[in-house]
């Protein structure tokens, strides 16, 4: 049944009003405040805040983190979805549950896990110290924590899509003489490409915005281990509202670009919205 275009009666209008007000107060207003506050002292102050070398280093680190963790999760996500949907094996359900784990666990705990494993007092700490490898309070720790937190996005997007598509096409490709690799590149990948892009975008948005887990393992060393979200927090704590809001506006912009791309994708490929495959 298609929804009717205009709310028909008072009840429906009331419901719509409540929903709009809710979104307005909780989502739209704060976003607006970010941009308003950022530009309060004029464009000059805004640009100055962004030209701060610490801000530059934070932007660089954030982009680098995303550039490493997103491809990692892309490869893992495709491999895991392929394995889960095209094969039957023992421990399949365990794998599905494990993929969901980062969603279920608080990001702070995700960070603490790495602290406990790689920190100076952690399991591998003494060995790492001996070999002069720094993981925690350094860039590798930030990348690990971000990768962990953004782990499920690609796989979660692909699994329902690939489940709905089934294995008939792959089986046919095999019977027609294609190798496993050819089957993947010629048949599977083209079928999932839009879903994959969608998952990567979501994954990227989260990778750039992650605060909790990164905060725990970063050590907040200015110019070295501060990502954009951490940098914003520091500026805020230092009573530098212009700097904080200017940087926040930049991060919000990145998120908005991601969202807009995602919406454009959804408009072109409505099936992504439902998270299921195109009709056969």
């Amino acid at each position: 049944m298609k929804p009717s275009r205009v709310p028909a009666n008072l009840g429906a209008m009331l419901l719509l009003g409540v929903a709009l007000a809710y979104v307005g107060v909780l989502v739209l207003l704060p976003l607006l405040v970010v941009f308003v506050e950022a530009l309060r002292s004029g464009v000059g102050a805004y640009l100055e805040a962004l030209s701060d070398p610490y801000a530059h280093s934070a932007i660089r680190l954030t982009l680098m983190t995303a550039a490493i963790s997103v491809p990692l999760n892309l490869v893992f996500g495709v491999a895991a979805s392929w394995a889960i949907t095209k094969f039957d094996f023992r421990g399949k359900n365990a794998l599905i549950t494990l993929i969901d784990l980062p969603f279920a666990v608080s990001p702070v705990i995700s960070g603490l896990i790495y602290l406990l494993v790689f920190g100076a007092q952690g399991w591998l700490g003494p060995w790492l110290l001996e070999h002069d490898i720094r993981v925690v309070f350094a860039v590798p720790g930030i990348i690990l924590a971000t990768t962990f937190v953004t782990f499920p996005f690609v796989a979660r997007e692909l699994i329902p899509l690939m489940q709905a598509q089934g294995t008939d096409e792959e089986v046919t490709a095999l019977s027609l003489g294609a190798s496993g690799w050819q089957t993947f590149w010629l048949v599977t990948l083209p079928n999932i490409r839009w879903g994959l892009l969608y998952g990567v975008l979501l994954c990227n948005a989260r990778a750039m915005g992650e605060f909790g887990a990164v905060s725990v393992v970063s050590g907040h060393i200015r110019g070295l281990t501060n990502t954009l979200p951490l940098h914003i927090e520091i500026l805020h704590k230092e009573y530098n509202p212009v700097g904080a809001f200017a940087t926040a506006a930049l991060l919000a912009m990145l998120a908005l670009v991601t969202l807009i791309t995602k919406s454009l994708l959804e408009m072109r490929h409505p099936e992504l919205r439902q998270g299921v495959a195109r009709q056969r």
Partner: protein, 605 residues
């Protein structure tokens, strides 16, 4: 390219989906695997394509073992029910796929693509996407795609299943023409018998993972060997008839030898009468065929060229159904009449008619029916509900008849007598033997479904009949059979060697004439002791015991040697051969005396 399946078995955990299937398909043949869903036919096809592994057996292409060759190297063309076209490729790209992955040059690919699309009459659709085509067109693309790499084998898995009736017929024609022109060996899997008849050079009918029968369509339709095939391939009326020197007796009617296929032998036989072989007339005098009985028209329906009727026989009719009827329901015949018959005699529902049969076919099964011998109705219902009898009767579609001595049906000598294995078993068996019964199933109270079947005979003379019976039973049990020979410890060396030879002979014989493989086992001891121990054990075993002799001799044998066996936990199937007891070594001379049983072996169910 010829295809051989050699003793293929496929299991999913506990479930055996393909059970010991052997099949030869000649080069260029169009073979149809027919069966209800879940019969294992698709699994067998997927095994041929290399898409599913098998636990046992070999698959040969042109006598070359391809069991472990991966799917992509088998060079078969495969078409699925749901087309499985590559949805992001155009029709042309779909057809070219097999050539593309083989690195064929673009120009050659295009030429082959055009040829193939022409073959399936879709040359104008090269640049369309699959989603823009109708179901029938998509399936034609799938067929063209499967042919691109010139496979020697074409495998079709319910290719018409998702199509409308008319498109189905058209595509059927296309596939038949393409197959004829290219001469590919083709296997089609379907559950639709009309499709099987229209396309198959030969048909193989599968049921419960077993390949029951193979043959040319008309052969299978006219002369099925099993109840399942008789009823699955078209409609069939199954009766219990009694065969004697004078011919076949169906109820009160005596059918001359010329009308029936196998007019020799004696005893109860399952009789198949096709709906079109039944004649209806307003009085018996006007029948052109052998009168069977009278009845009245229950219902009629229009079915294009023919008229379908259901004719109900009166409750006291002497004609007996070979399949189970709901509680005391009257026997209803399925009849079809062609247009000239309809013109000669118009019929209305409720009208009385005389029923005649033009042609009958007798099934060669040794188990024509199960007849329960019990003292009370309670005992009878307990037997009727036992898991073993239930499984056998349901799977065979055989009828269970209460046949206590008082009911007047006790004089029928054939079928399998079913009785409780308790202290009163031996007198009951003796009485049944005296009436001429040859096969008896003794079921202890509460016996579970057997997981294993053990076969022993007390002499070589008893063996052929016992093996025919085992072959028939094994088709309907998911169990493993072992033929056991028990050797006295004091036996001279020559006897031991003879026992070994007999085991191997038996195995070969079963495989040869029944397509059934058994394990063999040689035990040391006395047969009766060994069996008594087995019967008393917890193992869920069906013991098949073959004994030979006249009624009195067998009764004596049972009383003296096998009494403990009939009081044990295991069900016992007795096969009694009414022949003078042969001494060892004289088995060859027994062959002629065993005529009726030998005949039963050939197509045992």
């Amino acid at each position: 390219m010829s295809i051989d399946f050699e003793r293929i078995s496929k299991r999913y955990g506990e479930l055996t989906v393909v059970n010991d299937v052997s099949l030869h398909i000649a080069s260029g043949e169009f073979f149809v695997l027919l069966g209800p869903s879940g019969s294992g036919k698709s699994t067998l096809l997927r095994a041929a394509a290399g898409l599913t592994g098998i636990e046992d057996g070999r698959i040969l292409f042109d006598r070359r073992d391809v069991t472990h060759v991966p799917a992509r190297q088998r060079g078969v063309g495969l078409v699925f029910q749901h087309y499985a076209l590559f949805r992001h490729m155009t029709v042309g790209e779909n057809v070219e796929f097999a050539l593309r992955v083989r690195g064929v040059k673009h120009a050659d690919r295009a030429r082959r693509r055009n040829e193939l699309l022409q073959l399936v009459a879709l040359d104008d659709f090269t640049n369309r996407m699959p989603g823009q085509l109708s179901g029938g067109q998509q399936q034609r693309v799938a067929v063209a795609r499967a042919l691109a790499h010139e496979p020697a084998v074409l495998l079709l898995d319910e290719p018409f299943g998702a199509l409308d009736a008319q498109i189905r017929v058209e595509l059927r024609e296309t596939i038949r023409q393409v197959q004829r022109r290219l001469g590919m060996t083709t296997i089609l899997v379907t559950h639709d018998q009309e499709e099987a008849f229209a396309l198959g050079d030969r048909i193989g009918v599968m049921h419960n993972g077993r390949l029951l029968e193979t043959g040319k369509p008309e052969m299978l339709y006219r002369h099925p060997a099993t109840r399942f095939v008789a009823t699955f391939l078209g409609a069939a009326n199954l009766f219990l008839g009694e065969l004697s020197a004078g011919g076949l007796k169906l109820g009160q009617a005596q059918i001359a030898a010329a009308d029936s296929q196998r007019a020799s032998g004696h005893g109860e036989a399952v009789t198949v009468v096709r709906p079109e072989d039944i004649e209806l007339a307003d009085s018996e005098a006007r029948l052109h065929s052998t009168p069977l009985c009278s009845g009245h028209v229950q219902s009629l329906s229009f079915a294009g060229g023919v008229q379908r009727l259901r004719v109900q026989l009166p409750g006291d009719s002497a004609v007996q159904s070979a399949v189970n009827l709901a509680n005391a329901a009257p026997l209803v015949l399925e009849v079809t009449r062609n247009s000239s018959e309809q013109l000669q005699l118009a019929l209305n529902a409720g009208q009385r008619v005389a029923v005649g049969v033009r042609r009958v076919h007798l099934l060669p099964t040794p188990i024509s029916s199960f007849r329960i011998l019990a003292d009370s109705a309670q005992d009878a219902s307990q037997l009727r509900n036992s898991p073993l009898l239930n499984q056998l009767a349901t799977s065979m579609r055989a009828r269970i008849i209460d046949s206590t001595a008082s009911s007047g049906e006790g004089n029928v000598t054939q079928g399998v007598a079913v009785l409780a294995a308790d202290s009163r078993a031996i007198p009951t068996i003796a009485a049944a033997l005296a009436r001429g019964t040859q096969r008896l199933l003794c079921i202890p109270a509460g016996a579970p479904l057997p997981r294993r079947v053990v076969i022993c005979t007390d002499s070589d003379a008893a063996r052929p009949a016992a093996l025919a019976l085992v072959a028939s039973v094994m088709r309907h049990l998911h169990a493993e059979a072992t033929f056991v020979s028990v050797q006295s410890p004091a036996a001279p060396r020559g006897d031991v060697a003879g026992s070994f030879r007999r085991l191997l002979d038996t195995r070969a014989e079963l495989l040869e004439s029944h397509g059934l493989d058994v394990r063999t086992d040689l035990q040391v001891g006395a047969l009766d002791d060994w069996l008594a121990r087995l019967a008393a054990s917890e193992e869920q075993t069906l013991i098949v015991l073959g004994v030979a002799g006249d009624a009195a001799q067998i009764e004596a044998t049972l009383t003296q040697r096998f009494q403990p066996l009939l009081g044990g936990r295991c069900p016992v199937l007795l096969s009694c051969s009414h022949a003078p007891v042969a001494t060892l070594g004289a088995a060859g001379a027994m062959a002629s005396a065993q005529e009726p049983d030998q005949q039963l072996i050939d197509g045992a169910e």
